[in-house]
Amino acid sequence: MSLELDIRLPLARFTLEVGTRLDGASVAVMGRSGSGKTSLLEVLAGLRRGARGRVVLEGRVLLDSAARSDVPPEQRRMGYVPQDALLFPHLTAEQNVRFGARPGRASRVDEAVELLELAPLLRRYPATLSGGEKQRVALARALATDPALLLLDEPLAALDVALKERVLPYLLRVRDEARVPMLYVTHQLGEARVLAREALLLEQGQVRAAGPAAEVLGAAARGLLAGEGEGEENILEGVLERPEEGGLRLRVRGGLSLWVPDSPALAPGTRAAYAVPAADILLSIQPLTGVSARNVLTGTVVDVEPVATGEDAATVEVAGVRWVVWLTSASVRELGVVPGARVSLAVKTSACRRLR
């Protein structure tokens, strides 16, 4: 994907000003509530009048206020999924998905239905769907239009949402299987890290940072989001395996394997994503033995920074995978958790919660 942005849009409290170039197939847009994230998506979708500047997607000029060109939303090919899904209440889930299907590309509808596992929901009306189901239908509806770019506005407070309601696993499938570029507004650092190749940080309508996700989603992002009141999580995606000694493990890239709660319904070979709250991990500066937690990992501290009054986040690299652990600042001081230190992490099996 190549998306060039140079836009200005006066809002009630500040002016949204975004000038950047994004090339990653998936871009996370982060910032506090009211920092202009949703407005940015609306400008891209062509739904905001008064936006000035340029928007160029894959060489196609969508907005160029200097040349008085402003492609109407119906010709932009943006797959917009708003925060509250906004399904058409008078249509069934299936009719919603088919709403924007382009003639000659009907197969997109079937692909979207399969990818988002909507078959059992197709005959239902939006009023009878749960929040997560609505999001999935809205995502399928956008995918069925064969969009050039997906614009996703994540529902607020994803952490409060029941695990099976979270859309993230489906977004991973959209990214890897449908291979549609996406711009994803999220409040969850963990989600952004696992989903995005690039990230854009907004503060009061201004770009605070933009670039590769690994760089942008570190300290600056956490500092910016601090105070939003949500905990952080580590999200791990991988393939399930059943070792001979029994139990269920998630094989993550880099050779790391994690014991996860067993369930007979889960077949080996399945792709899965798990969330581990950063506050549920135990950190030790000595090798851990004789603990009940089945997952004991050894790694190196990359950095430590405060997240809230009295709490710090330590980033620990284990076999190429970065883990975030929240611990009290007092522990950090007493244990001497500093960059470069070798530490062990203990993760209880039950702390690994499967998404979906």
Partner: protein, 224 residues
């Protein structure tokens, strides 16, 4: 009773035609009022409500002055060989004008209930403005529109004041049920007038009952 059948069918015919006639402009105005929020909106709204509160005879008089042979509109129409005043056309027109505000008010509140963001989403899904209107806005506002059309139809069924001025009360030509009731009482044929009043009451009952039924079943499926 043959005369009664003809009267009833003429009255229904006039009311239906008047309703159909105001439907396109009525919906356009209702939609504009629901979505547009510019200067002068209050004045436009007030002007549109006037026919509801003015004496119908005053509205009829204005129409007569406009459409008469020497009126500004009448002259133009006369040049085309179209005669309106004291013809069935005038009956339809008078009913249409009197019913217009009722249609607009109800349809407008129907349109106002449709979340404009749904229309925005429809546009991003490739729908033009027109398609978004017919696939999203209208289906979601249909109760308001239908109630408006039924109210307009009911109003047209009973129209008297404006009609009598601009169309006269010509039996077999411009006479509707309400005009006929007036004429029969003037002639002292009270029993006949009473029978016609009964028929009018029956028609009104059906129309209002239908309106109520539509209103009561509001949003059974659409709302959670």
């Amino acid at each position: 009773m043959e005369g009664v059948t003809a009267l009833v069918s003429f009255t229904l015919w006039v009311a239906a035609l008047a309703t159909l006639l105001i439907l396109p402009p009525g919906l356009a105005v209702a939609y504009a009022l629901a979505r547009w929020d510019g200067p002068g909106k209050g004045v436009v709204e007030t002007l549109l409500t006037l026919p509801l509160v003015l004496p119908p005879t005053a509205v009829g008089l204005v129409l007569l002055e406009l459409l008469g042979r020497n009126g500004p509109l009448g002259r133009v129409l006369d040049a085309w060989g179209v005669e309106v005043v004291f013809t069935p056309k005038a009956v339809v027109l008078a009913s249409a004008v009197m019913a217009f505000p009722l249609l607009v008010r109800s349809a407008r509140s129907g349109f106002e209930e449709v979340d404009p963001r749904l229309v925005a989403v429809a546009r991003t899904l490739g729908a033009s403005r027109t398609r978004a209107f017919f696939r999203v806005t209208l289906p979601l506002a249909w109760r308001g529109v239908l109630v408006g059309a039924l109210l307009a139809f009911s109003r047209a069924l009973g129209e008297f004041g404006a009609t009598v001025l601009v169309a006269g009360n010509i039996p077999g030509r411009t006479q509707t049920l309400s005009l006929a009731i007036f004429q029969r009482t003037q002639l002292g044929r009270d029993a006949e007038a009473l029978r016609l009043a009964g028929v009018a009451a029956l028609l009104a009952f059906v129309a209002v009952f239908a309106t109520e039924a539509v209103t009561r079943r509001r949003g059974r499926r659409v709302r959670a």
